[in-house]
């Protein structure tokens, strides 16, 4: 309060003395604010504890200038009819500026002391600095507005300050509560306007042990603080390259040497240790997750390896990663109708729509023929599993099925197909499961399928092909 008052007195006396001097002061202070981040360079390292101690008052202190700034336009508006309010507005502006300066300093102490960095931190900091500069200019421009010399500049500046405040406040909120705090429980229709940003620089590693086992662990347990929005210790764990690069304390992964890998050391400390990670009471890693991390590091921490020897959890999987089937939201009404109707159903594989649909015919298998199947053609690219076992489909079904481009599993057991047109399936690059048990398929009919590298599970129990393949020991007769 006293500091604010002194400042206001100082600025007042300046105004009386010389307008130019006041603008010089404004400029000088602005430069000082801009230089602050260069003095306290955020390098991701932790600094003296007392800096952080003070800095931690930033989040509570920040509400003082916010409250006053929000109050300001009301005071100015009220001041058009009641002079007392106008006078108060001037005082509130000075006070907002003064508390703002203290807040800025504390904020920088917090970031500098705790070693936090990242895009959101930087944005929040520059937002705060910009806001203070705008306030300084407000202070300088207000006398001219009061005296009626310049009409529009001050209101415009004030509006700009409020917008800056909103943006900066949002950045700060994202730091504290996470960037999806506001959108997480937003109703679906509104949410569509806020596309969630996603990056894909790890796309090259799809299917690897890293993507299947390591990335999900880091994503769930570490990325809140070591990610794009908050780079605690200058460390980001959300992408492989950044994980390997490490943070300000150097590399956190020592390939083949789990005991010297900082990331493992930190998560295996005693939970009461001040260096224990995840910090601040977040959920620790489970024993299984630690074991997986250890095994992965021991096996050279490769981003591309698809198997880690000797470890059951990350052993080679013969399964393909699921390919997203694309967006079928515009067909939703029809799909719902199909679901409600008594006949065959389209069922979602999982809660994630892009996992695709299952075509389920079991309730009307005895009536489901090629014509029925044709009704599902318009959903073809979204169907990943066609359960046509014991239906009345015949060889014509392959014409239709060849358009099911994302089909992964095809059940034709106990149907009348002879396999005459089986070759049409070779267009289905995702197909990995084909059940022809109990059909009249011969081994000759299977020849066109030999080139399908993803087709690993072909079942020919109780078919003419079974006997033949048993004799020739064909590789196509596969089991697990």
């Amino acid at each position: 309060m006293i500091a604010a008052h002194k400042l206001s007195v100082a600025i007042r006396s300046l105004r009386i003395r010389n307008l130019r001097a006041q603008w010089l002061w404004t400029l000088g202070l602005s430069v000082l604010f801009v230089l602050l981040p260069f003095v306290f360079r955020l390098d991701g390292r932790q600094h003296a504890d007392w800096l952080q101690f003070l800095g931690r008052f930033h989040p509570s202190l920040v509400h003082l200038p916010i409250g006053m700034l929000v109050l300001l336009p009301f005071l100015e508006f009220g001041g058009t009819t009641r002079l007392g309010l106008r006078e108060a507005a001037g005082f509130v502006l000075y006070l907002a500026l003064a508390t703002g300066v203290v807040t800025l300093v504390f904020g920088i102490l917090l970031a500098y002391g705790s070693g936090v960095m990242g895009a959101t931190v930087t944005r929040h900091m520059w937002g705060g600095i910009a806001l203070l500069i705008e306030l300084l200019v407000c202070v300088a421009a207000r006398p001219a507005w009061i005296s009626g010399q310049v009409q529009r500049v001050y209101p415009a500046l004030l509006a700009a300050s409020l917008l800056t405040l909103l943006w900066t406040g949002h950045q700060g909120g994202s730091l504290t509560y996470g960037s999806d705090y506001l959108t997480r429980f937003m109703p679906g229709p509104v949410k569509r306007f806020f596309p969630s940003a996603s990056s894909a620089s790890d796309a090259a590693y799809v299917g690897s042990v890293y993507m299947r086992s390591i990335h999900p662990i880091l994503d769930a347990k570490c990325v809140v603080c070591h990610g794009a929005s908050k780079e605690q210790g200058g460390l980001r764990l959300d992408f492989y390259d950044l994980l390997i690069t490490g943070g300000k304390d150097g590399a956190v992964i020592a390939p083949r040497n789990p005991d010297h890998s900082l990331v493992l050391q930190r998560v295996t400390l005693s939970p009461t240790d001040k260096h224990f990670m995840p910090a601040e009471g977040r959920t620790p890693l489970t024993a299984d997750e630690i074991a997986i991390l250890r095994a992965w590091i021991l096996a050279d921490a490769s981003p591309t390896a698809t198997s880690i020897p000797g470890i059951a959890t990350t052993a080679e999987s013969t399964e393909l990663p699921l390919q997203p089937v694309g967006d079928y939201s515009n067909l939703m009404n029809e799909i719902h109708q199909m679901q409600r109707s008594e006949g065959a159903k389209l069922v979602a594989v999982s809660a994630t729509p892009s996992d695709g649909l299952i075509l389920r015919t079991i309730d009307i298998a005895s009536k489901f023929d090629d014509a029925e199947l044709a009704r599902f053609q318009r959903f073809a690219p979204f169907i990943v599993d066609a359960e046509l076992g014991r239906t009345k489909v015949g060889d014509d079904c392959f014409d239709i099925l060849s358009r099911f481009t994302n089909l992964r599993a095809l059940h034709l057991e106990g149907t009348a197909v002879t396999g005459r047109a089986l070759g049409k399936l070779s267009a289905l690059s995702q197909l990995s499961y084909l059940n022809l048990s109990g059909t009249k398929v011969t081994s000759e009919a299977l020849v066109p399928l030999k080139g399908m590298s993803n087709l690993r599970h072909v079942y020919l129990f109780d078919t003419p092909a079974q006997a033949a393949s048993a004799a020739t020991n064909s590789t196509l007769r596969s089991t697990q």
Binding site: L322, A351, T352, E413
Partner: protein, 516 residues
């Protein structure tokens, strides 16, 4: 106050305010009963109800709930948003070995025990464990090595007892868990814990959870079917009651439908003489109408369950005869399952039915086999038990595999606990008994979602304590749910103020080492 006519106790009734309760509490009661408070609360309740109704009816709720799942229209998934992720298994078959199979006589090979025959097991192994009343009085705990030789089988070289010649053939397809462990040492709590995740009755079992969460794949058969194997009176059969397949606090339509173990699995399935199918239909329609009136009046969800069960029973009139008609099974079936499978009620027959149910879209089938409670005469009874079950289990897994069903069917073989390495009662060269043992027992899984050909976990040299990789019942169940696309930690049902789960209250983990 008026006395009830049947009440013979003629003392005047006591009002709550006359009870020996502190004055302050009574004042609190009195304060709760003021008219002002009642009216005030009623008003608020009405207001909130109206608001909830408005929001509910405007359909905002599903959008709000679905927003999390990034779903363009969450209503396509079932209302619960399940499965949480693309499942490996669409269905499961659970072979329940009630009574507690002795793990060291079947899968948990302990060759060093032979040298310790009749020596006392070191106290340090048992620690301060509280034993059952059946052996806690024993002065000695003599080590009883397995009576049967073990051999290595399959490409994995897994050790299996000679009692299980058929299971030995399929070890490469099995995921054997040697370190399953439970909290309970007696049958009823242990079997409840295994099935419902809680030792006390009243919680839904695994099958009911799956029926509730994943729903039916076939409108004409129940989602969850229980098959009981005919008991062998020579065996020590522990009771198996319907609360093991109860739906607990879930709607009763999710409870397991038990098929009888005799020739007639569902009684009164055929229409009675003189009543044709149309008359039956008419009757059911009328009953449904009455039930709907009751529902409108009372609003009890159980009425809904009743309506749907009547309809299910009607559809089962045609679907069950087809299900149990084995006449069209090819000869290869009988070659695989053996002639026993032709007798209704045997384990092999039930395994064959389980395969047929899997083909017909039954989500969860549980087969109970009782009699594993070998407190004495292990040498006499265990070969009988193995002979009864070994062939059927092997045939089921093999049959599913050759028909391409094992890819998306999870088969589970488990009892409620294991048995002690020390002999209960007298130990001789020819015979011994084994008491209940909760600290480790062997189970296996096969098929969709689990990694074939592995043995998971290690026990100590007495098969008494877990040395490495324990799998608690909760972890076991969490892993099963995972294979079916369910995140156990998110799969809950609000009841009595709690988010009730199959795997609570102690946190459970999916055992990643078991997964494919």
């Amino acid at each position: 106050m008026k006395q009830h006519p049947l009440c013979t106790d003629c003392e005047p009734p006591v009002t709550p305010l006359e009870l020996p309760v502190p004055r302050a509490v009574k004042q609190e009661w009195a304060a709760l009963e003021t008219r002002r408070r009642f009216l005030g609360r009623s008003g608020k309740v009405l207001g909130w109800a109206a608001l909830a109704g408005l929001f509910g009816d405007m359909g905002l709720r599903i959008y709000a709930e679905g927003a999390d799942a990034k779903s363009p229209s969450p209503a396509l998934n079932n209302a619960l948003g399940l499965p949480h992720f693309a499942p490996k298994a669409k269905r499961a078959i659970y072979l329940f070995m009630s009574g507690g199979p002795p793990q060291m006589d079947l899968f948990d090979y302990k060759p060093n025990l032979a040298a310790q025959f009749n020596e006392d097991m070191p106290d340090s192994i048992r620690g301060n464990q509280q034993l059952t009343g059946m052996t806690s009085g024993q002065a000695h705990f003599p080590v009883a090595p397995s009576h049967w030789p073990f051999g290595q089988h399959g490409q994995t070289g897994t050790w299996v007892s000679s009692l299980l010649p058929y299971s030995a053939r399929m070890v490469d397809d099995l995921t054997i868990i040697k370190t399953t462990n439970t909290d309970a040492i007696n049958h009823e709590p242990a079997i409840m814990l295994m099935n419902t995740g809680n030792m006390n009755a009243g919680k839904p079992c695994l099958g009911a959870w799956l029926a509730y969460g994943l729903g039916s794949m076939n409108d004409n058969l129940p989602t969850f079917i229980v098959l009981q194997t005919k008991t062998n009176p020579k065996e020590n059969n522990q009771p198996v009651s319907s609360r093991l397949w109860s739906s607990g606090f879930l709607s009763s339509e999710f409870a397991g439908v038990g098929l009888r173990s005799g020739a007639d699995p569902v009684l009164y399935l055929a229409d009675p003489a003189g009543v044709d199918h149309d008359v039956r239909r008419k009757m059911l329609d009328t009953v449904e109408e009455i039930n709907r009136q009751t529902l409108a009046e009372v609003g009890d969800p159980e009425t809904n369950a009743r309506i749907s069960q009547y309809e299910m029973a009607f559809r089962m009139q045609s679907s069950v005869p087809e299900l149990i008609d084995l006449s069209k099974e090819p000869p290869s079936t009988w070659d695989l399952y053996g002639p026993e499978a032709k007798q209704p009620g045997t384990f092999a027959y039930n395994c064959l039915l389980a395969r047929r149910m899997a083909e017909r879209g039954v989500r969860f089938t549980q087969i109970y086999k009782r009699g594993w409670d070998v407190h004495d005469n292990v040498v006499g009874m265990l070969p009988v038990l193995c002979q009864e079950t070994d062939h059927g289990a092997y045939a089921l897994v093999t049959d599913l595999k050759r028909r391409g069903l094992l890819d998306d069917t999870l088969v589970i073989w488990a009892g409620e606990f294991g048995r002690t390495v020390y002999s209960q009662g007298g130990l001789s060269r020819d015979n011994y008994g084994r008491d209940h043992h909760p600290r480790c027992f062997t189970t296996w899984m096969a098929g969709g979602g689990v990694r074939p050909g592995i043995t998971y976990g290690e026990t100590d040299e007495y098969s008494y304590n877990v040395v490495k990789d324990p799998v608690h019942v909760r972890d076991f169940n969490a892993t099963i749910l995972h294979c079916l696309g369910i995140d156990h930690s998110k799969f809950s049902y609000k009841f009595q103020g709690l988010d009730q789960k199959l795997t609570t209250p102690v946190p459970a983990n999916v055992v990643l080492g078991l997964l494919a």
